[in-house]
Amino acid sequence: MGSGWETTTLAERAAEAMPGSLLAGAGYVLLAVVGASLFVAVLGMALIYAERKVAAHFQCRLGPMRVGPHGIFQTVADTIKLLFKEDIVPAQSDRVLHLAAPFFSMMATLLALVALPMSPIVQVADMNIGVLYITAVTGFGVLGVLLAGWSSNNKWSLLGAMRAGAQIISYEVSATMSLLVVVLFSGSMQLSRIVESQADGWWIWRAPVVGVVAFVIFLIASLAEISRTPFDLPEGESELTAGFHTEYSGLRFAMFFLAEFVNMFVVSAMATTLFLGGWMPFHIGGVESFNAVMDLLPPGAWFALKSAAVVFLIMWFRWTFPRLRVDQLMKLEWKVLLPIGFVNLFAAATAVVFGWYFFPF
């Protein structure tokens, strides 16, 4: 694998095509921004629709049915409604921060999307510190949550924001620890390289045992980072009314909502890229006919399918598990996940040094 694929990214292509003039540059930037916003909006809406349908079918219901066939335009209606809804800023709130907070959350999500290799050609920025970059910008999202909670001047919001702060910062450690395992094995932080290094087998099983452990830790820690059940404490509906976004309405609430769902996609995409081979098709070494069939599906579709599978898994969690308590959450991180993560990292380092790789297929 590998040699057949063109490794030029979208950004490089655009840079080649872009003439030196300032006007064209500005046009390109505008186009990119509009395109990205549209992409995020459509992605978010699709994910929200999917969540509602998945939830419904877990719960012996139908879910949205009335707006379009099987309700596929339901989230479109929701979005338009939220766009034209009154935007309330509470009188006692910190106005500037209150207005700005959703943008921080949204920005973090958008920035993370930039570095994801969705196929050999669709990757906006392929930086050599991709893993580090994504870890950094996703951590940035907590700022929006903290600001939202603080500026709302609502005690429930504040409680939610503080929970979010503690939770996200704690779980960042474990998430990074499990990412390092893959970095060790693939020997690179560049996301496209990491994907290419999985041509012979995905890290989840190619790294002996540690891959699975790292994947599980990453999934748990990322769920906590994006505040999904069972770690949805910052907005725990039954406890804190609506948590940090209690005082938000209309468009700004929609942005938090959207960021939450796109974050879910980012996590799934990261899990796919690092552990599940990214856009690499599923190959079994030596069985050429099987591999040829697998190659029929384009890499972009492989990426989408794998991400969708992880997204589904995350939704499955949400509609099955109750929520943890705040001290149990901390206990899980500092007393369970982190020690296991450390041991796992050392095991991974040992495996890399001695060259213990699995080639099961």
């Binding site: 939830a55 877990f58 719960q59 012996c60 219901r61 005690k155 429930w156 409680l159 929970r163 059940t229 069972p230 949805d232 404490l233 725990g236 509906e237 039954s238 406890e239 804190l240 009314t241 949400r318 509609w319 099955t320 598990f321 109750p322 929520r323 943890l324 308590r325 705040v326 001290d327 149990q328």
Partner: protein, 380 residues
């Protein structure tokens, strides 16, 4: 050790202060089950004190009762604890029958027992679903309601209402059983037993749910008795007080069932007691459903305004939430001179002030839910 060395705590203690603050939980809050308001004194996430504020749905039922005939008052009890409307009806019927010396027959008592037990199951199903939701798992709510709808269907066929039944009246029951009743109840039991196992798999055996429940909100037996708590809340604390067993009414004296009793009185015990009660109710129904005695279903003409001789009557029944009592004071007319309802939730709720301090906000939600309160029943 020299005086220069200080601990970190001392350092923080000099620089920063922690502050307690008050938070309003309710009247509109997703997990206060209606319009209950709790004023919480918090220190960070830890609950220091809980002050319940009641009356947001106080409807003056007792005052209205002084102007309504006994038969008319029955429908108001539906609207107190609407999840065990039939048991509430029964309490009034029992009081009036006792005071006015109205006889009932075997068929009436069997029907009453059957429908009351069916509704007890329905009530516990709803509680189970809402409890799951309060723990943060949404799906139990849907599963609980899915099975509850089956009971609602059965009851609706006979009674004609889904929630506020107004069915059991002094001297009988309003309508005779629907011809399909027996068949449908049997079908329901066959359907529901496996589903109950599903409940256990989804929530009871879930490690997170167990962690959230075990050891949380321990209500000691002595405390529970002193607070006048009844029903599953009291039984979970280890006091086997069940009116169905201790002073049987209806046909409870003729059926076999156990009274599940908890060991520690924590949220888990309250949870387990209710799940077990569902099983016992199924047992009771199974024993009764085969042979429902023949007879008339109503021995008093519906239009009669029953006159009750002078005196005080206190009658109680065991609802899904505890002891529902009716204190009936008559001066010999066809309307009560004073009617007082002793509702289980009023007493049960106060347990929260004893068990919540020291726990977190999330535990408070679990505890409220494990007490299974219905706010109109508290406020009356």
């Amino acid at each position: 050790m020299s005086a220069i060395v200080t601990t970190l705590e001392q350092r923080i203690g000099r620089g920063a202060t922690t502050q307690e603050f008050f938070v309003n939980m309710g009247p509109q809050h997703p997990s206060t089950h209606g319009v209950l308001r709790l004023v919480l004194k918090l220190e960070g996430e830890t609950v220091k004190d809980v002050i319940p504020v009641l009356g947001y749905v106080h409807r003056g039922v007792e005052k209205m009762g002084e102007h309504l005939s006994y038969r008319q008052f029955v429908h108001l009890t539906d609207r107190l604890d609407y999840l065990s409307a039939l048991a509430n009806n029964w309490a009034v019927a029992k009081a009036v029958e006792k005071a006015a010396g109205i006889e009932t027959n075997e068929r009436i008592e069997t029907i009453r027992t059957l429908v009351a037990e069916l509704q007890r199951i329905a009530s516990h199903q709803l509680w189970w679903g809402v409890f799951g939701m309060d723990l943060g798992a949404f799906t139990p709510f849907l599963y609980g309601f899915r099975d509850r709808e089956r009971i609602t269907d059965i009851l609706e066929e006979t009674i004609g209402a889904r929630l506020t039944m107004n069915y059991i009246q002094p001297g009988g029951v309003m309508f005779d059983l629907h011809p399909d009743f027996q068949r449908k109840v049997k079908e329901f039991i066959a359907y529901f037993r496996p589903k109950l196992e599903e409940y256990e798999t989804l929530l009871s055996r879930n490690i997170i749910a167990q962690e959230r429940m075990r050891g949380v909100g321990v209500l000691e037996a002595a405390q529970a008795v002193a607070l006048g708590a009844t029903g599953p809340v009291l039984r979970a604390s280890g006091v086997a007080h069940d009116l169905r067993k201790s002073e049987p009414y209806g046909v409870y004296g003729k059926v076999e069932f156990d009274v599940p009793v908890g060991a520690r009185g924590d949220c888990w015990d309250r949870y387990w007691v209710r799940i077990e009660e569902i099983r016992q109710s199924l047992r009771i129904i199974e024993q009764l459903i085969e042979n429902i005695p023949e007879g008339k279903h109503l021995l008093v003409k519906p239009a009669v305004r029953t006159k009750v001789p002078e005196g005080i009557t206190y009658s109680q029944v065991e609802t899904a939430r505890g002891v529902f009592g009716v204190l009936l004071v008559s001066d010999g007319k066809d309307v009560p001179y004073r009617i007082h309802v002793r509702t289980p939730n009023f007493n049960n709720l106060w347990a929260i002030t004893r068990i919540a301090p020291g726990w977190r906000v999330a535990d408070l939600v679990t505890m409220i839910s494990s007490l299974d309160i219905v706010v109109p029943d508290i406020d009356r």
